[in-house]
Amino acid sequence: MIRTLALAIAWGVAVTAALSPASAHADADTGITDAQKAQLEQLRAKIASQIQLQAYDLLDELVYGWTESPVFATDTPVVLADVSVPVGFGSGLEALVENHFVSLVTKNPRTHLVLTHCPRCNELIVYSGAKGTVVSRGVDQPEALAAAGAASGAHHALFLDFEAEGAALVLRARITSLEPALPIVYARTLSTSTASPALLRSPERLKSAAEARQEYLDALTGRGFFLVPMRLGIRNYAKSDSPDAQATPFPFVWLQIGAEAALTQARAWTASLSVGGTYTPDLHTGWLVQARIGRLLSGSTISLTQPDLYGFLGGSVITIYGPGATIFGDKVPTTKDLLDAATGVSKPEFTFAAFQLGLELRIKSRIGLGAYLEYAPALENAPSIGNYLDLGFIQFHNFGVEVTFCF
Protein backbone atom coordinates (compact mmCIF):
# COMPACT_ATOMS: atom_id res chain seq x y z
CA MET A 1 0.00 0.00 0.00
CA ILE A 2 1.26 3.35 -0.83
CA ARG A 3 0.82 5.63 2.13
CA THR A 4 3.30 8.37 1.75
CA LEU A 5 1.05 11.21 0.84
CA ALA A 6 -2.29 11.89 2.44
CA LEU A 7 -3.58 15.25 1.55
CA ALA A 8 -5.91 16.88 3.98
CA ILE A 9 -7.01 19.33 1.39
CA ALA A 10 -7.46 16.50 -1.01
CA TRP A 11 -9.67 14.95 1.63
CA GLY A 12 -12.36 17.35 0.66
CA VAL A 13 -11.90 16.58 -2.99
CA ALA A 14 -10.55 13.07 -3.31
CA VAL A 15 -12.52 11.51 -0.48
CA THR A 16 -15.62 13.24 -1.70
CA ALA A 17 -14.97 11.84 -5.11
CA ALA A 18 -14.43 8.44 -3.58
CA LEU A 19 -17.32 8.39 -1.11
CA SER A 20 -19.99 10.55 -2.66
CA PRO A 21 -22.08 9.91 -5.73
CA ALA A 22 -20.23 10.78 -8.88
CA SER A 23 -21.35 13.47 -11.27
CA ALA A 24 -23.85 14.79 -8.79
CA HIS A 25 -23.42 18.48 -9.43
CA ALA A 26 -21.51 18.52 -12.63
CA ASP A 27 -24.00 20.72 -14.38
CA ALA A 28 -24.44 23.33 -11.67
CA ASP A 29 -23.20 26.23 -13.78
CA THR A 30 -23.91 25.04 -17.28
CA GLY A 31 -26.16 27.19 -19.39
CA ILE A 32 -25.51 30.42 -17.46
CA THR A 33 -24.34 33.27 -19.64
CA ASP A 34 -21.91 35.96 -18.57
CA ALA A 35 -24.74 38.47 -18.43
CA GLN A 36 -26.72 36.19 -16.14
CA LYS A 37 -23.67 35.69 -13.96
CA ALA A 38 -23.19 39.45 -13.71
CA GLN A 39 -26.86 39.86 -12.82
CA LEU A 40 -26.51 37.14 -10.21
CA GLU A 41 -23.49 38.87 -8.71
CA GLN A 42 -25.42 42.13 -8.48
CA LEU A 43 -28.28 40.36 -6.78
CA ARG A 44 -25.95 38.67 -4.35
CA ALA A 45 -24.33 41.96 -3.48
CA LYS A 46 -27.77 43.45 -2.77
CA ILE A 47 -28.78 40.55 -0.58
CA ALA A 48 -25.43 40.61 1.19
CA SER A 49 -26.00 44.20 2.20
CA GLN A 50 -29.39 43.22 3.60
CA ILE A 51 -28.17 40.28 5.64
CA GLN A 52 -25.13 42.15 6.87
CA LEU A 53 -27.12 43.66 9.74
CA GLN A 54 -28.56 40.29 10.65
CA ALA A 55 -25.06 38.84 10.73
CA TYR A 56 -23.93 41.71 12.94
CA ASP A 57 -26.85 41.03 15.24
CA LEU A 58 -25.87 37.41 15.65
CA LEU A 59 -22.27 38.37 16.36
CA ASP A 60 -23.47 40.91 18.91
CA GLU A 61 -25.52 38.20 20.58
CA LEU A 62 -22.56 35.82 20.57
CA VAL A 63 -20.12 38.32 22.06
CA TYR A 64 -22.73 39.53 24.55
CA GLY A 65 -23.06 35.93 25.68
CA TRP A 66 -19.31 35.75 26.19
CA THR A 67 -19.31 38.93 28.25
CA GLU A 68 -21.95 37.45 30.52
CA SER A 69 -20.50 33.96 30.60
CA PRO A 70 -16.91 33.93 29.34
CA VAL A 71 -15.53 30.78 27.74
CA PHE A 72 -12.17 31.33 29.43
CA ALA A 73 -11.58 32.45 32.99
CA THR A 74 -8.52 34.49 32.07
CA ASP A 75 -7.39 36.39 29.00
CA THR A 76 -6.66 33.75 26.36
CA PRO A 77 -5.02 34.21 22.97
CA VAL A 78 -7.31 32.95 20.22
CA VAL A 79 -6.81 32.80 16.48
CA LEU A 80 -9.76 33.73 14.31
CA ALA A 81 -9.20 30.75 12.07
CA ASP A 82 -12.11 30.91 9.69
CA VAL A 83 -15.13 33.03 8.82
CA SER A 84 -17.42 31.44 6.28
CA VAL A 85 -20.52 33.09 4.86
CA PRO A 86 -23.59 31.48 3.31
CA VAL A 87 -22.98 29.48 0.16
CA GLY A 88 -23.27 31.87 -2.75
CA PHE A 89 -21.90 34.93 -0.96
CA GLY A 90 -18.46 36.33 -1.53
CA SER A 91 -15.45 37.48 0.40
CA GLY A 92 -16.87 41.01 0.76
CA LEU A 93 -19.36 39.83 3.35
CA GLU A 94 -16.63 37.79 5.04
CA ALA A 95 -14.53 40.92 5.44
CA LEU A 96 -17.45 42.88 6.91
CA VAL A 97 -18.26 40.11 9.35
CA GLU A 98 -14.65 39.67 10.39
CA ASN A 99 -14.14 43.40 10.94
CA HIS A 100 -17.29 43.71 13.02
CA PHE A 101 -16.38 40.68 15.10
CA VAL A 102 -12.85 41.93 15.80
CA SER A 103 -14.28 45.31 16.71
CA LEU A 104 -16.70 43.69 19.15
CA VAL A 105 -14.07 41.54 20.86
CA THR A 106 -11.65 44.45 21.09
CA LYS A 107 -14.28 46.67 22.70
CA ASN A 108 -15.44 44.01 25.13
CA PRO A 109 -12.46 42.79 27.13
CA ARG A 110 -14.81 40.93 29.49
CA THR A 111 -14.94 38.16 26.90
CA HIS A 112 -11.35 37.27 27.91
CA LEU A 113 -10.60 36.60 24.26
CA VAL A 114 -7.39 38.10 22.94
CA LEU A 115 -7.36 37.85 19.19
CA THR A 116 -3.97 36.88 17.85
CA HIS A 117 -2.55 37.41 14.43
CA CYS A 118 -1.39 34.07 13.06
CA PRO A 119 -0.81 34.12 9.31
CA ARG A 120 0.46 30.54 9.25
CA CYS A 121 -2.69 29.27 10.92
CA ASN A 122 -4.75 29.95 7.81
CA GLU A 123 -2.10 29.13 5.26
CA LEU A 124 -1.49 25.77 3.70
CA ILE A 125 1.44 24.07 5.32
CA VAL A 126 3.22 20.86 4.46
CA TYR A 127 4.14 18.65 7.37
CA SER A 128 6.09 15.43 7.11
CA GLY A 129 5.92 13.11 10.06
CA ALA A 130 6.33 9.46 10.89
CA LYS A 131 2.95 8.65 9.33
CA GLY A 132 3.48 10.51 6.12
CA THR A 133 3.26 13.97 4.61
CA VAL A 134 0.18 16.04 5.16
CA VAL A 135 -0.78 19.24 3.41
CA SER A 136 -3.38 21.24 5.29
CA ARG A 137 -4.20 24.55 6.90
CA GLY A 138 -2.10 25.38 9.92
CA VAL A 139 -5.01 25.15 12.36
CA ASP A 140 -5.71 21.61 11.19
CA GLN A 141 -2.15 20.55 12.01
CA PRO A 142 -1.33 22.13 15.36
CA GLU A 143 1.71 19.88 15.83
CA ALA A 144 3.14 21.33 12.62
CA LEU A 145 2.46 24.86 13.86
CA ALA A 146 4.10 24.08 17.17
CA ALA A 147 7.11 22.53 15.46
CA ALA A 148 7.51 25.61 13.33
CA GLY A 149 6.90 27.94 16.29
CA ALA A 150 4.27 29.68 14.21
CA ALA A 151 1.25 29.49 16.50
CA SER A 152 1.83 33.07 17.73
CA GLY A 153 1.17 31.94 21.28
CA ALA A 154 -2.41 30.98 20.53
CA HIS A 155 -3.68 27.65 21.78
CA HIS A 156 -7.22 28.01 20.53
CA ALA A 157 -8.80 28.62 17.16
CA LEU A 158 -12.17 30.24 16.63
CA PHE A 159 -14.41 29.39 13.68
CA LEU A 160 -17.47 31.39 12.63
CA ASP A 161 -19.81 29.88 10.11
CA PHE A 162 -22.91 31.60 8.71
CA GLU A 163 -25.52 29.89 6.61
CA ALA A 164 -28.82 31.01 5.13
CA GLU A 165 -31.50 28.48 6.01
CA GLY A 166 -34.67 29.71 4.35
CA ALA A 167 -35.55 33.03 5.94
CA ALA A 168 -33.18 32.54 8.85
CA LEU A 169 -29.52 33.34 9.08
CA VAL A 170 -27.74 30.85 11.30
CA LEU A 171 -24.42 31.42 13.02
CA ARG A 172 -22.42 28.44 14.25
CA ALA A 173 -19.42 29.37 16.33
CA ARG A 174 -16.91 26.94 17.76
CA ILE A 175 -13.59 27.15 19.54
CA THR A 176 -11.10 24.35 19.06
CA SER A 177 -8.14 23.68 21.25
CA LEU A 178 -4.97 23.60 19.15
CA GLU A 179 -3.66 20.30 20.40
CA PRO A 180 -3.19 17.16 18.29
CA ALA A 181 -6.71 15.81 18.95
CA LEU A 182 -8.29 19.17 18.07
CA PRO A 183 -11.06 18.91 20.68
CA ILE A 184 -13.89 21.42 20.34
CA VAL A 185 -14.14 23.21 23.67
CA TYR A 186 -17.04 25.49 22.85
CA ALA A 187 -19.81 25.53 20.28
CA ARG A 188 -22.95 27.55 19.92
CA THR A 189 -25.65 28.00 17.33
CA LEU A 190 -27.54 31.27 17.01
CA SER A 191 -30.34 31.93 14.59
CA THR A 192 -32.41 34.89 13.42
CA SER A 193 -35.42 32.61 13.06
CA THR A 194 -37.45 34.90 15.28
CA ALA A 195 -37.58 37.19 12.22
CA SER A 196 -37.05 40.19 14.42
CA PRO A 197 -35.59 43.31 12.90
CA ALA A 198 -31.93 44.04 13.55
CA LEU A 199 -31.34 45.34 17.03
CA LEU A 200 -28.50 47.66 15.98
CA ARG A 201 -26.70 47.41 19.28
CA SER A 202 -23.77 49.66 19.96
CA PRO A 203 -20.53 47.64 20.14
CA GLU A 204 -19.43 49.49 23.27
CA ARG A 205 -22.63 48.79 25.17
CA LEU A 206 -23.87 45.38 24.15
CA LYS A 207 -27.14 44.30 25.65
CA SER A 208 -29.32 41.27 25.53
CA ALA A 209 -32.16 40.89 23.07
CA ALA A 210 -34.61 41.29 25.95
CA GLU A 211 -33.02 44.57 27.01
CA ALA A 212 -32.97 45.83 23.42
CA ARG A 213 -36.63 44.94 23.04
CA GLN A 214 -37.46 46.80 26.24
CA GLU A 215 -35.71 49.88 24.89
CA TYR A 216 -37.76 49.59 21.72
CA LEU A 217 -40.95 49.30 23.74
CA ASP A 218 -39.95 52.31 25.80
CA ALA A 219 -39.38 54.26 22.62
CA LEU A 220 -42.80 53.25 21.36
CA THR A 221 -44.68 53.92 24.55
CA GLY A 222 -42.57 56.96 25.38
CA ARG A 223 -44.57 58.88 22.83
CA GLY A 224 -47.76 57.80 24.52
CA PHE A 225 -51.12 57.09 23.03
CA PHE A 226 -52.28 60.64 23.65
CA LEU A 227 -50.59 63.76 22.37
CA VAL A 228 -51.40 67.42 22.72
CA PRO A 229 -50.88 68.98 19.31
CA MET A 230 -50.52 72.72 18.96
CA ARG A 231 -51.02 73.89 15.39
CA LEU A 232 -50.05 77.22 13.93
CA GLY A 233 -51.57 77.58 10.49
CA ILE A 234 -52.55 79.95 7.77
CA ARG A 235 -55.79 79.66 5.79
CA ASN A 236 -55.79 81.34 2.41
CA TYR A 237 -59.18 81.74 0.78
CA ALA A 238 -59.23 81.94 -3.00
CA LYS A 239 -60.20 85.22 -4.61
CA SER A 240 -63.25 85.06 -6.76
CA ASP A 241 -62.87 85.56 -10.49
CA SER A 242 -66.17 87.39 -10.60
CA PRO A 243 -65.87 91.06 -11.71
CA ASP A 244 -68.27 91.96 -8.89
CA ALA A 245 -65.85 90.77 -6.27
CA GLN A 246 -64.10 93.85 -4.94
CA ALA A 247 -62.70 92.57 -1.66
CA THR A 248 -59.62 90.40 -1.65
CA PRO A 249 -59.64 87.64 0.99
CA PHE A 250 -56.78 87.95 3.42
CA PRO A 251 -54.92 85.14 5.12
CA PHE A 252 -56.28 83.97 8.44
CA VAL A 253 -53.67 82.94 11.00
CA TRP A 254 -54.99 80.29 13.35
CA LEU A 255 -53.64 78.87 16.53
CA GLN A 256 -55.19 75.55 17.53
CA ILE A 257 -54.67 73.27 20.46
CA GLY A 258 -56.32 70.00 21.31
CA ALA A 259 -55.82 66.30 21.93
CA GLU A 260 -54.81 63.53 19.59
CA ALA A 261 -55.31 59.85 20.27
CA ALA A 262 -53.63 56.91 18.55
CA LEU A 263 -56.34 54.47 17.54
CA THR A 264 -53.87 51.63 17.00
CA GLN A 265 -50.70 50.47 18.72
CA ALA A 266 -48.61 51.50 15.73
CA ARG A 267 -50.26 54.95 15.44
CA ALA A 268 -51.47 53.89 12.01
CA TRP A 269 -54.77 55.63 12.71
CA THR A 270 -55.09 58.79 14.75
CA ALA A 271 -57.99 60.99 15.75
CA SER A 272 -57.87 64.49 17.13
CA LEU A 273 -60.15 67.18 18.42
CA SER A 274 -58.96 70.73 18.72
CA VAL A 275 -60.17 74.26 19.29
CA GLY A 276 -58.58 77.31 17.79
CA GLY A 277 -58.70 81.02 17.53
CA THR A 278 -57.71 83.74 15.10
CA TYR A 279 -57.34 87.45 15.66
CA THR A 280 -56.27 90.32 13.47
CA PRO A 281 -56.62 93.81 14.96
CA ASP A 282 -59.47 95.85 13.44
CA LEU A 283 -60.35 93.04 11.04
CA HIS A 284 -61.66 89.91 12.67
CA THR A 285 -61.81 87.56 15.56
CA GLY A 286 -62.75 83.94 15.13
CA TRP A 287 -62.83 80.53 16.66
CA LEU A 288 -63.18 77.02 15.42
CA VAL A 289 -63.72 73.48 16.57
CA GLN A 290 -62.11 70.83 14.46
CA ALA A 291 -62.11 67.04 14.41
CA ARG A 292 -59.69 65.01 12.33
CA ILE A 293 -58.96 61.43 11.52
CA GLY A 294 -55.53 60.58 10.13
CA ARG A 295 -54.11 57.52 8.49
CA LEU A 296 -50.42 56.62 8.20
CA LEU A 297 -49.56 56.30 4.53
CA SER A 298 -45.81 55.69 4.67
CA GLY A 299 -45.98 52.25 6.23
CA SER A 300 -47.86 50.02 8.58
CA THR A 301 -46.18 51.44 11.67
CA ILE A 302 -44.54 54.71 12.58
CA SER A 303 -40.83 54.84 12.05
CA LEU A 304 -38.26 55.58 14.72
CA THR A 305 -35.81 56.88 12.15
CA GLN A 306 -37.79 58.26 9.19
CA PRO A 307 -40.51 60.92 8.91
CA ASP A 308 -44.04 59.56 8.75
CA LEU A 309 -46.56 60.69 6.17
CA TYR A 310 -50.20 60.89 7.23
CA GLY A 311 -53.26 61.60 5.15
CA PHE A 312 -56.08 63.22 7.06
CA LEU A 313 -59.70 64.13 6.73
CA GLY A 314 -61.19 66.79 8.95
CA GLY A 315 -64.35 68.65 9.72
CA SER A 316 -64.57 72.10 11.29
CA VAL A 317 -67.10 74.60 12.47
CA ILE A 318 -65.73 78.10 12.06
CA THR A 319 -67.14 81.39 13.29
CA ILE A 320 -65.70 84.74 12.26
CA TYR A 321 -66.64 88.11 13.80
CA GLY A 322 -65.75 91.57 12.61
CA PRO A 323 -65.34 93.37 9.32
CA GLY A 324 -63.38 90.45 7.91
CA ALA A 325 -66.45 88.26 8.12
CA THR A 326 -68.20 90.30 5.45
CA ILE A 327 -66.31 88.53 2.64
CA PHE A 328 -67.98 85.25 3.56
CA GLY A 329 -71.47 86.66 3.06
CA ASP A 330 -73.72 85.84 0.13
CA LYS A 331 -73.47 89.38 -1.28
CA VAL A 332 -70.60 91.56 -2.26
CA PRO A 333 -69.76 93.87 0.68
CA THR A 334 -70.17 97.51 -0.13
CA THR A 335 -68.05 100.34 1.22
CA LYS A 336 -70.87 101.21 3.58
CA ASP A 337 -70.97 97.65 4.92
CA LEU A 338 -67.27 97.75 5.63
CA LEU A 339 -67.45 101.18 7.28
CA ASP A 340 -70.38 100.12 9.45
CA ALA A 341 -68.52 97.03 10.53
CA ALA A 342 -65.33 98.97 11.22
CA THR A 343 -67.10 101.60 13.31
CA GLY A 344 -69.18 99.12 15.25
CA VAL A 345 -72.49 100.17 13.75
CA SER A 346 -72.98 96.61 12.53
CA LYS A 347 -71.47 93.41 13.92
CA PRO A 348 -70.92 90.98 11.07
CA GLU A 349 -70.74 87.36 12.09
CA PHE A 350 -70.48 84.33 9.88
CA THR A 351 -70.48 80.69 10.89
CA PHE A 352 -69.85 77.90 8.46
CA ALA A 353 -68.74 74.30 8.25
CA ALA A 354 -65.62 73.22 6.41
CA PHE A 355 -64.04 69.92 5.50
CA GLN A 356 -60.33 69.37 5.05
CA LEU A 357 -58.38 66.87 3.00
CA GLY A 358 -54.66 67.00 3.48
CA LEU A 359 -51.27 65.50 4.10
CA GLU A 360 -49.02 65.85 7.11
CA LEU A 361 -45.39 64.92 7.49
CA ARG A 362 -44.60 64.01 11.09
CA ILE A 363 -41.15 63.62 12.55
CA LYS A 364 -41.13 61.17 15.48
CA SER A 365 -44.63 62.35 16.44
CA ARG A 366 -43.09 65.55 17.69
CA ILE A 367 -43.14 68.05 14.85
CA GLY A 368 -45.41 68.05 11.83
CA LEU A 369 -45.74 69.99 8.63
CA GLY A 370 -49.12 69.86 6.93
CA ALA A 371 -50.96 71.17 3.91
CA TYR A 372 -54.61 70.79 3.07
CA LEU A 373 -57.45 71.85 0.85
CA GLU A 374 -60.72 72.88 2.44
CA TYR A 375 -64.24 72.68 1.15
CA ALA A 376 -66.90 74.87 2.75
CA PRO A 377 -70.42 74.29 1.36
CA ALA A 378 -71.62 77.62 2.75
CA LEU A 379 -69.04 79.50 0.70
CA GLU A 380 -70.36 78.22 -2.62
CA ASN A 381 -72.67 81.24 -2.67
CA ALA A 382 -70.09 83.75 -1.46
CA PRO A 383 -69.32 86.05 -4.39
CA SER A 384 -66.01 87.17 -2.85
CA ILE A 385 -64.63 83.67 -2.46
CA GLY A 386 -63.37 81.64 -5.39
CA ASN A 387 -61.88 78.15 -5.78
CA TYR A 388 -58.37 76.78 -5.75
CA LEU A 389 -59.53 73.55 -7.26
CA ASP A 390 -62.83 72.82 -8.93
CA LEU A 391 -63.55 69.19 -9.64
CA GLY A 392 -67.06 69.92 -10.81
CA PHE A 393 -68.88 68.26 -7.97
CA ILE A 394 -66.72 69.82 -5.29
CA GLN A 395 -64.79 73.05 -5.01
CA PHE A 396 -61.93 73.72 -2.66
CA HIS A 397 -62.14 77.29 -1.46
CA ASN A 398 -59.25 77.35 0.87
CA PHE A 399 -55.66 76.20 0.92
CA GLY A 400 -54.00 75.95 4.28
CA VAL A 401 -50.58 75.14 5.65
CA GLU A 402 -49.70 74.48 9.25
CA VAL A 403 -46.91 73.54 11.57
CA THR A 404 -47.73 71.21 14.44
CA PHE A 405 -45.86 70.78 17.69
CA CYS A 406 -46.88 67.77 19.76
CA PHE A 407 -46.46 67.62 23.51
Binding site: I2, D140, L182, T301
Partner: protein
Protein backbone atom coordinates in the same frame (compact mmCIF):
# COMPACT_ATOMS: atom_id res chain seq x y z
CA UNK B 1 -67.87 64.53 -0.21
CA UNK B 2 -68.45 60.82 0.10
CA UNK B 3 -66.27 60.25 -2.92
CA UNK B 4 -63.36 61.73 -1.13
CA UNK B 5 -63.91 59.76 1.98
CA UNK B 6 -63.73 56.65 -0.10
CA UNK B 7 -60.71 58.01 -1.91
CA UNK B 8 -58.86 58.73 1.31
CA UNK B 9 -59.77 55.39 2.77
CA UNK B 10 -58.58 53.64 -0.37
CA UNK B 11 -55.05 54.98 0.02
CA UNK B 12 -54.17 53.12 3.21
CA UNK B 13 -55.91 50.09 1.88
CA UNK B 14 -53.65 50.06 -1.14
CA UNK B 15 -50.62 50.69 1.06
CA UNK B 16 -51.56 47.72 3.20
CA UNK B 17 -51.97 45.50 0.18
CA UNK B 18 -48.49 46.45 -0.96
CA UNK B 19 -47.13 44.98 2.26
CA UNK B 20 -49.32 41.89 2.13
CA UNK B 21 -47.14 38.84 1.46
CA UNK B 22 -49.90 36.94 -0.28
CA UNK B 23 -50.38 36.94 -4.02
CA UNK B 24 -51.95 40.23 -5.11
CA UNK B 25 -51.65 43.02 -7.63
CA UNK B 26 -48.45 44.23 -5.99
CA UNK B 27 -46.76 40.86 -5.60
CA UNK B 28 -45.93 38.28 -8.22
CA UNK B 29 -46.06 34.55 -7.77
CA UNK B 30 -42.27 34.39 -7.67
CA UNK B 31 -42.13 36.96 -4.87
CA UNK B 32 -44.84 35.13 -2.92
CA UNK B 33 -42.91 31.87 -3.24
CA UNK B 34 -39.87 33.53 -1.73
CA UNK B 35 -41.68 34.26 1.51
CA UNK B 36 -41.41 31.91 4.43
CA UNK B 37 -44.48 32.20 6.63
CA UNK B 38 -45.19 30.96 10.13
CA UNK B 39 -48.46 31.18 12.01
CA UNK B 40 -47.97 32.35 15.58
CA UNK B 41 -50.26 33.35 18.40
CA UNK B 42 -51.08 36.99 19.02
CA UNK B 43 -49.00 36.93 22.20
CA UNK B 44 -45.95 35.63 20.33
CA UNK B 45 -46.49 38.11 17.53
CA UNK B 46 -46.69 40.94 20.05
CA UNK B 47 -43.48 39.71 21.65
CA UNK B 48 -41.67 39.85 18.31
CA UNK B 49 -43.33 42.89 16.76
CA UNK B 50 -44.57 45.08 19.63
CA UNK B 51 -44.98 48.09 17.35
CA UNK B 52 -47.27 46.30 14.95
CA UNK B 53 -49.20 43.72 16.90
CA UNK B 54 -51.07 44.84 20.02
CA UNK B 55 -50.96 42.92 23.26
CA UNK B 56 -53.76 40.36 23.63
CA UNK B 57 -56.63 41.84 25.56
CA UNK B 58 -57.13 40.22 28.96
CA UNK B 59 -60.87 40.68 28.47
CA UNK B 60 -60.93 38.39 25.46
CA UNK B 61 -60.65 34.80 26.56
CA UNK B 62 -58.64 32.56 24.28
CA UNK B 63 -61.48 30.07 24.59
CA UNK B 64 -63.86 32.48 22.94
CA UNK B 65 -61.67 33.96 20.27
CA UNK B 66 -58.49 32.54 18.77
CA UNK B 67 -56.46 35.39 17.28
CA UNK B 68 -53.21 34.60 15.56
CA UNK B 69 -50.78 36.26 13.22
CA UNK B 70 -48.99 35.14 10.11
CA UNK B 71 -45.34 36.18 10.20
CA UNK B 72 -43.85 36.19 6.72
CA UNK B 73 -40.18 36.77 6.09
CA UNK B 74 -38.47 36.79 2.70
CA UNK B 75 -35.98 34.02 2.14
CA UNK B 76 -32.41 35.26 2.36
CA UNK B 77 -31.43 33.39 -0.76
CA UNK B 78 -34.26 33.35 -3.25
CA UNK B 79 -35.47 30.24 -4.96
CA UNK B 80 -33.34 29.57 -8.02
CA UNK B 81 -30.24 31.43 -6.93
CA UNK B 82 -28.48 28.32 -5.69
CA UNK B 83 -28.60 24.84 -7.21
CA UNK B 84 -31.91 23.29 -6.26
CA UNK B 85 -30.46 20.40 -4.27
CA UNK B 86 -28.01 22.61 -2.38
CA UNK B 87 -30.88 24.92 -1.51
CA UNK B 88 -33.08 22.08 -0.33
CA UNK B 89 -30.34 20.69 1.90
CA UNK B 90 -29.14 24.04 3.25
CA UNK B 91 -32.66 25.30 3.95
CA UNK B 92 -33.35 22.38 6.26
CA UNK B 93 -29.80 21.94 7.51
CA UNK B 94 -30.47 22.57 11.19
CA UNK B 95 -33.37 20.16 11.31
CA UNK B 96 -31.78 17.33 9.34
CA UNK B 97 -28.45 17.59 11.15
CA UNK B 98 -30.23 17.69 14.47
CA UNK B 99 -32.08 14.48 13.61
CA UNK B 100 -28.87 12.76 12.55
CA UNK B 101 -26.89 13.92 15.57
CA UNK B 102 -29.64 12.79 17.91
CA UNK B 103 -29.58 9.26 16.51
CA UNK B 104 -25.78 9.17 16.34
CA UNK B 105 -25.41 10.41 19.89
CA UNK B 106 -27.46 7.47 21.12
CA UNK B 107 -25.11 5.01 19.41
CA UNK B 108 -21.90 6.01 21.15
CA UNK B 109 -20.87 5.97 24.80
CA UNK B 110 -20.80 9.21 26.78
CA UNK B 111 -17.00 9.29 26.62
CA UNK B 112 -16.83 8.61 22.88
CA UNK B 113 -14.83 11.18 20.98
CA UNK B 114 -16.67 12.02 17.77
CA UNK B 115 -15.12 12.86 14.43
CA UNK B 116 -17.48 14.22 11.83
CA UNK B 117 -17.22 14.70 8.12
CA UNK B 118 -19.65 15.18 5.27
CA UNK B 119 -19.40 13.94 1.71
CA UNK B 120 -21.17 16.07 -0.82
CA UNK B 121 -20.22 17.00 -4.36
CA UNK B 122 -19.91 20.70 -3.54
CA UNK B 123 -17.15 21.06 -0.92
CA UNK B 124 -18.67 24.30 0.43
CA UNK B 125 -21.94 22.55 1.19
CA UNK B 126 -20.07 19.57 2.62
CA UNK B 127 -18.24 21.95 4.95
CA UNK B 128 -21.53 23.48 6.10
CA UNK B 129 -23.03 20.08 6.84
CA UNK B 130 -20.00 18.93 8.80
CA UNK B 131 -19.79 22.14 10.82
CA UNK B 132 -23.50 21.99 11.64
CA UNK B 133 -23.19 18.39 12.83
CA UNK B 134 -20.12 19.06 14.95
CA UNK B 135 -21.70 22.10 16.54
CA UNK B 136 -24.91 20.27 17.32
CA UNK B 137 -23.06 17.33 18.87
CA UNK B 138 -21.07 19.66 21.12
CA UNK B 139 -24.21 21.52 22.10
CA UNK B 140 -25.86 18.25 23.09
CA UNK B 141 -22.99 17.38 25.39
CA UNK B 142 -20.80 15.10 23.29
CA UNK B 143 -17.04 15.15 22.96
CA UNK B 144 -16.20 16.22 19.45
CA UNK B 145 -12.95 16.70 17.61
CA UNK B 146 -12.31 19.00 14.69
CA UNK B 147 -9.91 16.48 13.24
CA UNK B 148 -11.10 14.16 10.50
CA UNK B 149 -9.48 10.75 10.12
CA UNK B 150 -7.35 10.51 7.01
CA UNK B 151 -6.81 7.70 4.59
CA UNK B 152 -3.86 7.12 2.36
CA UNK B 153 -4.05 7.86 -1.32
CA UNK B 154 -3.96 4.16 -2.13
CA UNK B 155 -7.07 3.54 -0.07
CA UNK B 156 -8.86 6.28 -1.89
CA UNK B 157 -7.93 4.82 -5.25
CA UNK B 158 -9.32 1.45 -4.26
CA UNK B 159 -12.53 2.92 -2.82
CA UNK B 160 -13.27 4.92 -5.89
CA UNK B 161 -14.07 1.79 -7.85
CA UNK B 162 -16.30 0.23 -5.18
CA UNK B 163 -20.11 0.40 -5.01
CA UNK B 164 -21.51 3.26 -2.96
CA UNK B 165 -22.26 1.42 0.26
CA UNK B 166 -19.08 -0.63 0.19
CA UNK B 167 -16.95 2.50 0.18
CA UNK B 168 -17.97 3.51 3.66
CA UNK B 169 -17.55 0.02 5.04
CA UNK B 170 -14.05 -0.20 3.62
CA UNK B 171 -13.13 3.29 4.75
CA UNK B 172 -14.33 2.47 8.26
CA UNK B 173 -12.29 -0.72 8.37
CA UNK B 174 -9.21 1.12 7.14
CA UNK B 175 -9.68 3.92 9.71
CA UNK B 176 -9.59 1.38 12.50
CA UNK B 177 -6.82 -0.75 11.01
CA UNK B 178 -4.58 2.26 10.53
CA UNK B 179 -5.38 3.65 14.02
CA UNK B 180 -6.91 6.78 12.56
CA UNK B 181 -9.79 5.94 14.90
CA UNK B 182 -9.24 4.52 18.34
CA UNK B 183 -11.32 2.28 20.58
CA UNK B 184 -13.20 5.18 22.12
CA UNK B 185 -13.57 7.19 19.00
CA UNK B 186 -16.36 7.20 16.47
CA UNK B 187 -16.71 8.67 13.03
CA UNK B 188 -19.99 10.17 11.87
CA UNK B 189 -20.21 10.37 8.10
CA UNK B 190 -22.99 12.31 6.41
CA UNK B 191 -23.63 11.96 2.71
CA UNK B 192 -26.14 11.89 -0.09
CA UNK B 193 -26.46 8.45 -1.61
CA UNK B 194 -28.47 9.18 -4.71
CA UNK B 195 -27.57 12.26 -6.77
CA UNK B 196 -31.26 13.04 -7.23
CA UNK B 197 -32.31 13.03 -3.59
CA UNK B 198 -32.29 15.88 -1.11
CA UNK B 199 -32.19 13.75 2.01
CA UNK B 200 -29.00 13.41 3.97
CA UNK B 201 -27.90 9.93 4.97
CA UNK B 202 -25.58 9.17 7.84
CA UNK B 203 -23.61 6.35 9.25
CA UNK B 204 -21.33 5.75 12.21
CA UNK B 205 -17.99 4.01 12.19
CA UNK B 206 -17.01 2.48 15.49
CA UNK B 207 -14.30 -0.11 16.10
CA UNK B 208 -14.01 -0.74 12.38
CA UNK B 209 -17.69 -1.43 11.85
CA UNK B 210 -19.80 0.83 9.68
CA UNK B 211 -23.44 1.21 10.64
CA UNK B 212 -25.96 3.18 8.61
CA UNK B 213 -28.18 5.34 10.78
CA UNK B 214 -30.58 6.47 8.09
Amino acid sequence: METFIIFLMALPSLADRAGDPSLNAFRSKAEARNMECTRVSQAQAHERFPGQVPEPSPRVSSNLMDIDALVCTPRIVRVGERPARDEAILSSLSQSVSDIAQVAGAVGDPDTLWHVDAFYPDPRVAHKIAVAARTHLVETGHLVSDRVPLLAAGDLLVMRDLPERKRFELACARFFAEHALGEHEAFLGITVVDPRETQLHAGVCQKGVWQWLR
